[in-house]
């Protein structure tokens, strides 16, 4: 088990290296720079700016120095926000995005698991159809349609919540619901499928035969196997929630890192773009690693493969 974790961990290092390198050169090879703007900047000032940020050095030099700083956890200065480092911006904005992501993931599981289990247990009854249709709505109504609609209904007409912002605890409700609902739908479908596979198996019949109560059969015996597809979905789901929050942060005007990333890409703020990409990639890869380990723990069969 320890070897498995170690191997997976070592594998992530070259992957991250490739991501850093690819993003670095992609960002540099595009037309337009951070100091391109409508009003012309005097050449001397431009020169000074470029010298200040090291942009006058050869590209490979810049790359090596970036890597060097990165190894010390230093993402460098922002090109668009004078006197602010990328680290400061990330420290400022990331907690908000993480909080939104955590709430959304909670919504996805708290809504998706019961729906899926219920649908599987009451297979082919109206309860199943109701649960499955709810899941279909979640998959087919995109967040950027659902979000504005919910704002329209609950914020503008009913006035239960603020239409935007991230100040009071109540401001968390609508964004997390919207972002989480889509993944709740997938979780519900996967749970239903996984549970149906398991409920057919012999050991479930054995459990019933020896007189275990129905709830014990479902929660003690079936759930462990039935949840496997959900666990493997959690990796991609977290990645999706992180990027999905870009749109949510725009819709609800939440001051998170996602919105900052989109703006920084438009502004060609090289270091901020790079820093955010590296951070997100690391987060997602780390979470996938955790998911892999949990999967092996839950399914001993995988250990021998």
């Amino acid at each position: 088990m320890l070897r498995f974790i170690l191997r997976r961990f070592l594998e992530t290092i070259p992957v991250l290296f490739v991501i850093v390198t690819a993003t670095f050169f992609m960002v540099r090879f595009v037309p337009g720079g951070p100091f391109t703007s409508e009003k012309a900047i005097a050449p001397e000032i431009l020169h000074n700016l470029e010298a200040h940020y090291g942009l006058d050095q050869p590209l490979y030099r810049q790359y090596l120095s970036y890597l060097g700083h990165l190894l010390h956890g230093d993402f460098g200065p922002s090109f668009k926000y004078p006197n602010r480092t990328v680290n400061e911006i990330i420290a400022d904005k990331l907690p908000t995005s993480l909080e939104l992501g955590a709430w959304s993931l909670l919504v996805a599981l708290a809504l998706g698991l019961p729906l899926g289990i219920l649908a599987a247990v009451k297979r082919n009854t109206w309860i199943d159809y109701a649960c499955s249709s709810t899941a279909m709505i979640g998959i087919c109504v995109p967040t950027f349609v659902l979000g504005p609609l919910l704002i329209l209904a609950f914020a503008i007409h009913l006035r239960w919540f603020n239409a935007s912002g991230w100040y009071e605890p109540a401001d968390r409700v609508l964004p997390s619901l919207v972002l989480g609902f889509f993944y709740a739908a997938y979780v519900a479908r996967l749970t239903r499928g996984g549970m149906l596979d398991v409920l057919h198996q012999d050991f479930i019949r054995t459990a019933r035969a020896k007189g275990a109560s129905e709830s014990r059969v479902i929660f003690r015996h079936a759930l462990r196997g039935g949840l496997l597809p959900v666990v493997s979905f959690l990796g991609p789901a977290t990645a999706g929630i992180l990027t999905g929050s870009f749109v949510i942060e725009v819709i609800f005007q939440i001051p998170g890192l996602g919105r900052e990333f989109v703006t920084s890409a438009f502004n060609r703020d090289y270091t901020l773009v790079l820093g955010t990409v590296i951070l997100y990639a690391t987060l997602v890869i780390a979470l996938n690693l955790v998911v892999d380990v949990v999967q092996v723990l839950m399914n001993p069969k995988l250990k021998f493969e």
Binding site: M136, V141, P142, F144, P148, F246
Partner: protein
């Protein structure tokens, strides 16, 4: 299996054999699909939407870029069935024309994903051994990356042209297809007719694309149908962020974004594009699920 007469073993008979089994498989699937009411409904709605988007604008009295400042922000009425926007554009025509782009992106980007995924998966599955391990490990690693971020970067940096959009989205969505195709190839490649093809001395390339791929068309079709809505969702997502298709072209994602800005006073600008888009996704998903059940494709990735 139909027995082959010993004198005529060559490829023609092998192919005829496939065809015969194939046609009955397809006919069975067709019967099962027609019994699935949701799938039939999905196919019907989808057909209506496609026909309306392709042919509808020709029958409309309005051009999609026709500006009429005398009738801005009209709610739905007899002249403009779905109302008008801030420049007096007829919303119905704009939705139909935007639908052309959205559907086109869905189809072309799925084709790109299909081409990459099928080739990758078929080669990995057929080659086996080390090649297979390395190729699928690459897929695993790519799976773990937040790819949407790279699509966003590509679209910001390299201008937002539609060809790049196709390629960028296609390049993200091929991974599942590769996994499915590989799994199918693994099970097909051990069958006798592949051995026969190999005995005849056919090239690898020919065996893969002429003999194996046609036999795994079922799963490919199913996942292609399910990839289209995913692709359309990604396109709308990008358009919503202002990174999709650019004016004067428009897509459902663009309309939804414009509508969301003005929904407070003019809710129809959000509700109709959002509704049509969701309805299309519904239809595609119902049809895809129906096809999966009809063709009896297992949903697991192996």
């Amino acid at each position: 299996m139909v027995s082959l007469s010993p004198s005529s073993l060559p490829a023609a008979d092998v192919a005829a054999d496939d065809l015969e089994r194939g046609s009955s498989l397809w006919r069975d699937a067709w019967h099962r699909l027609r019994k699935n009411r949701l799938a039939v409904f999905g196919a019907f709605v989808l057909g209506v939407i496609v026909v309306a988007c392709v042919a509808g604008p020709w029958f409309s009295p309005y051009a999609y870029n026709e500006i009429d400042l005398a009738r801005t922000f009209r709610p739905p009425n007899a002249a403009n069935w779905l109302g008008t926007d801030e420049l007096g554009h007829d919303l119905l025509v704009r939705i139909l024309c935007g639908g052309r782009i959205s559907l086109l992106v869905g189809l072309v980007a799925t084709a790109v994903a299909l081409a990459i995924g099928v080739t990758w998966g078929a080669i990995a599955g057929y080659a086996g051994g080390r090649t297979d391990t390395v190729m699928m490990r690459i897929v695993d690693i790519l799976y773990a990356l937040p790819f949407t971020i790279f699509v966003i970067l590509l679209m910001v940096f390299f201008g937002r042209n539609i060809v790049l959009l196709f390629v960028a989205i296609g390049a993200v969505e091929w991974l599942t297809m590769a996994r499915i195709v590989r799994g199918q190839v693994l099970s097909v490649k051990k069958m006798e007719f592949i051995e026969a093809a190999r005995a005849l001395g056919l090239s690898r390339r020919r065996i893969i694309f002429r003999h194996i791929v046609p036999n795994i068309l079922g799963p490919i079709i199913v996942y292609a149908t399910l990839t289209i809505p995913a692709v359309m969702l990604l396109e709308a997502f990008l358009s919503f962020l202002g990174l999709g298709v650019q004016p004067p072209m428009s897509s459902w994602g663009v309309l939804i974004r414009d509508g969301a800005e003005k929904m407070e006073e003019f809710p129809w600008l959000l509700i109709f594009p959002g509704g049509i888009f969701s309805l299309t996704l519904f239809s595609l998903n119902f049809l895809g699920d129906g096809l999966r059940d009809a063709l009896d494709v297992r949903s697991s990735k192996d």
